[in-house]
Amino acid sequence: MLPVDRANVDTDQIIPAHYLTGIETTGLGKYLFTGMTGGAALLEAHPGAAIIVSRENFGCGSSREHAAWSLADRGFRAVVAPSFARIFYENAYNNGIAPVIVDAARIDGLLQAKHLRIDLEKEVLFGEDGTEIHFTLDPLRKQFLLSGGYMAFLASKTGAVREWLRLA
């Protein structure tokens, strides 16, 4: 678990704009948190972490999906926080990163943990001391999270959209 003990972790801190110059969605992990004071040291101190615990308003700011791509490329599968900015929240689901919303009062305790485990299917976060925190994923976006396919889902709707447009 990677503790990012601050609120308002914005997308410029997750990946600064000067790394947005590519056309691919892969290989961006090396830029993760390079815009955050102490970001590189934090990552080094927690090798192999797949879950981030942070505070309010995670992912605020830019629409850059590079924020989600850089997290995914670095092996992160979930961010646990009391709240998320909308665009990051959508981008996370579309890239296999679960935005796990838990009560703000739980965050202090979670930040102290060394290892957390999450069952995305069952929507449960397991603390080190055996505590279970139940959370709720968006029932539609959960499909995108577990099996990918936001684009494929929309592609399957194209006919319905054309019919809707014809009748509109």
Binding site: I23, T25, M36, S63, R86, E90, L154, A160, V161
Partner: protein, 454 residues
Amino acid sequence: MSRSLFEKVWDAHIVESLPGDNALVFVDRVVAHEITTPQGALEIERKYGDKLFDPARIVAINDHVSPAKDTETAIQAKVLRDWAKRHGIVLYDIGKNGICHVVAPERGYVEPGMTLACGDSHTCTLGAFGAFALGVGSTTQGGAMLAGCLVLQRPKVMRITIDGRLQGGATAKDLALHVIATLGFKGGTGYVLEYAGSTIAALSMDERMTLCNMAIEAGATTGMCPPDETTFSYLRGRENQPTGDAFERNVERWRTLVADADATYDAEIALNVDNLRPMVSWGTNPGEAVPVDGAVPAGANDASLRYMDLSPGTALRSLALDQAFIGSCTNSRLSDLRAAADVLRGRTVSIPTIVTPGSQAVKRAAEREGLHDVFQDAGALWTHSSCGPCLGMSMGVLAPGARCISSSNRNFPGRMGTGGRVHLASPAVVAASAVLGRIGSPEELAPVAEAVPA
């Protein structure tokens, strides 16, 4: 049933309801720029036979780093250019481009009642027209290009009623900073901000765009202003708009896009701006702002204070500056440049000052009025149109510790360059500060001696 402006636009675009309070929302227009479009376009090319739902609904603009600064950004521009050409998509490129949120409306691509998506968080700017304008990620934008729709959880609606007269140097930018300071940096999360009231009715389209531009800085899904005669006049006769009866028929339809008198909202706030002062941000999010003659507040967030090298009680006017920037999708339209020029006319800047028009069309209009001479006579740099220094991507990047006053929208740590410090303000306050070399307002400047004709 009575409905808000947002609900009228939303209801007219729902293709179907989806689980989890989500909906499949039809997208009338996609604005595509070179930083966030190639990824989705390439996925469509690889997996979906390069088929787009309707290329005529897309407008492409090379905007963030144009002309390219290096090989990578040149490739981004080329991918957008080749893709647009292949699909017959209109492209605004070098020579006639600019910031997408400035170019799209000035070229007539934004209308009341429209849904619009773009891979850029400041797409909310275009809610000024009474459109539902949504900033989205590349995948969501790609989905809209592929299937003509997107998935969105239905947002709540907050009505923000604003009355009173903007005076004493207060502008739409100050109003935007005041709204964010009132709501808090994430106080708008989950909401569409639907603006109402006499102050909004009196704003020009440029000013409404400035206000709506910063809805995202309160975390809001977007901002919206009710369309009215100001909106219709802006669009009448504009390129890419119909003319004559066809346009007037649209106007009749657009007139219905106002909130019903007894519409209900999920949240409501009312503000009076008679006493609003020009605002300047002191911290590391746009909600951390106070009047220009104010001080860093007691109880300010430690992390913000440390990053900005400030202490509670420090007067903003005591802060020496290293750079000034006038531009960005918030404040780079002609009226913004006029406001800055009015301050700089006959004066000299004392720190490096960059003035970047929002589009080449704005640049040419400004030059027809001689504003480029005003800026350059004052010692400022007058550049081509671009996103410019706002996001630290190309020109005007700040050195660590450098302090910049900027008419842009974000003061996040590192936003304009690693370790750089950003104070947000209106174009007039940025211009005055550029003269003073410290944060200050136009009223502090000594009068300019009038030139006496020989």
